[in-house]
Amino acid sequence: METGTVTTANPLNVKAKKESKSKEIARKLLRSWTGVIGFSLIILLLILSIFGEVIAPFDPMDAQLRDRLLPPLTDGHLLGTDQLGRDILSRVIVGARVSVVIGLSTVLLAGLIGTIVGVIAGYYRGWIDIVLMRIVDVQLSFPFILLVLVISAVLGAGLTNIVISLALAGWVIFARVIRSEVLALREKEFITAAIATGVPKLQILVRHILPNIFTPIIILGSLQIGTYIIAEASVSFLGFGVQPPTAAWGNMLDEGKDYIFNSWWLITFPGIAIILTALGVNLFGDWLRDTLDPELKGE
């Protein structure tokens, strides 16, 4: 055959490639200081949520009414105590778990619903697309937090219910984004090539479309987690969410708000925890987007 031999461009074996890939990601992470901050905050949050009880200096549930409303740095209470004499640092540490659990499970549930809806609407188009997207439009016209409150008012309080109501209010964003991703993918030439090969429609969806929307799902999910954590705190603050005495940053704010004028530390520290978490998740999400999706950044 007169085609000539094709010299291999990079005679690296596959294993070496895999190794260099994880190294490459680490190198890319180290290059961006925002990425490093975000990543460290997330790691810290995960450690706190897993080993919270071990790390916490006091029992977060242990109410010592004698020691109520101690300011920070008194009697070994680094961040002071609350109105029932519980150690605030310990409660903030243990409260991390609620945020992580709610953030992660909400994003999984909302992402799942949203992806299914978005993929169906974008891939099959037609009337089903119109119907689904009108539902999304209607839901998007309500403020997110109001919707969460309405749904959790119906479902009642509790951890599971707050996850369900956050997901029911939050899936629409996934549906919108995923639908537009699928719409763009449908027009890609490799999809036409798959049709020309004779690949059945369902297989095109599973083998060609889904793997290619994975990256946007991850990126959007990582950015949404922050929103959900804040929303959970807001809902808990309004008394619909995680119920006392379980330590959660939202209900700590709720309980502390009555003492805001003479004991500022009650609400300041859970507030800072929420801010840092949301910041960490968002910084990391931004970095992830820039790394996985360089086109968006225009690099």
Partner: protein
């Protein structure tokens, strides 16, 4: 269907049996102009007919927007035709149910222009090449791998490329993969849509050679869509020249380049850059641009740019008629047996 490895001695023998017959094919796009305005209809492919013989390479030539790519895609039902008939081995493809058509695709394949966009970036080469075999339930899984390695060698790649992703290859190598995907099912007919125009010059000739070799080896029939006239002259047997959705000239490749009839074809051929600095080309430089397909000129669509335009060209559209043996063109210059006279006009003015 031929068994793999079955090679025919002669190679480019052509038969006169048409493998594909296209009759009155139309593809119109409606462009919505908003709620209260009537839609604009773009006639991307406007009533074209031709047939492709078994074993030949049939070229569709024209400039961007002339409808050549749309024709290729419509034939394979990658977009649905507005009307018309496409008979493949006697069966009308346009009226086949979706599943039957999908099943038939193992005989009708396509090579795409952009080797970067036409391969799924998330798949390995092995997955890309297994897919056609899997969906058409050919061979056992272990035989499939053997077959893939075989085809990779034929297109000039090797076994070590199996687990790589498309982004690890150069444009030329990707196009080889795209071609491998098209021929792995032993198809009879391949639509090649500008298969070399996105490639570097030094790689183009490799891919052209590969396509010529594969044609001999697998007795392929090609529909070769291109705007590059030198490539078309080199590797095709018959050519249809398209302008604004219509075929304006159709004949054997050698005849077309030796004696182009339609003024558009003449201009197109004369516009090809010289192959040597000392070659002096008699150039017909067309004035103006290709008209907007959404608002084509009346009568003959070419009359706005034609150097030989007559009064009737502006109102009456000419039909594709045979003006010499096996040489069809749609131009009023040839319609009233004035052929000799007009030929004189054309050649004296060039």
């Amino acid at each position: 269907m031929l068994a793999a490895g079955f090679k025919k001695a002669g190679g480019d023998e052509m038969t006169d049996i048409p493998i594909l017959e296209v009759t009155n094919l139309k593809k119109y796009y409606k462009i919505s102009q908003g709620l209260f305005k009537s839609n604009i209809v773009v006639k991307a492919v406007d009533d074209i007919s031709f047939s492709i013989k078994k074993g030949e390479t049939f070229a569709l030539v024209g400039e961007s927007g002339c409808g050549k790519s749309t024709t290729g895609r419509t034939l394979l039902r990658l977009t649905e035709a507005t009307s018309g008939e496409v008979r493949y081995k006697g069966k009308d493809l346009m009226s086949l149910p979706y599943e039957k058509m999908r099943f038939l695709r193992k005989e009708l394949q396509m090579v795409f222009q952009d080797p970067y966009a036409s391969l799924n970036p998330k798949m390995t080469i092995k997955q890309i090449l297994t897919e056609p075999l899997r969906v058409h339930k050919k061979y056992t899984p272990s035989e499939r791998t053997k077959k893939i390695i075989e085809i990779l060698k034929i297109v000039g790649l090797s076994e070590e490329h199996l687990d790589r992703h498309p982004n690890e290859f150069s444009g030329g190598q990707r196009q080889r993969i795209g071609i491998a995907r098209a021929v792995i099912l032993n198809p009879d007919f391949i639509v090649a849509d500008e298969p070399v125009s996105a490639l570097d010059v030094s790689v183009q000739s490799q891919v052209i050679n590969l396509m010529l070799d594969l044609q001999k080896e697998f007795e392929l029939t090609y529909l070769f869509i291109s705007h590059d006239l030198s490539v078309v002259e080199h590797m095709t047997d018959r050519v249809a020249v398209m302008y604004l959705g219509k075929i304006v000239e159709l004949t054997e490749t050698e005849k077309l380049f030796k004696d182009p009839k339609h003024p558009y074809t003449q201009a197109l051929i004369s516009a090809v850059p010289a192959s040597h600095p000392r070659e002096v080309k008699k150039r017909i430089v067309l004035t103006g641009d290709v008209p907007n397909p959404a608002n084509p000129p009346s009568g003959c669509a070419f009359h706005t740019r034609c150097p030989f335009v007559m009064e009737k060209c502006k109102s009456i559209a000419p039909n594709l008629t045979e003006v010499a043996d096996g040489h069809q063109t749609s131009c009023h210059l040839y319609s009233e047996k004035k052929e000799e006279k007009t030929n004189v006009i054309i050649h004296s003015e060039v």
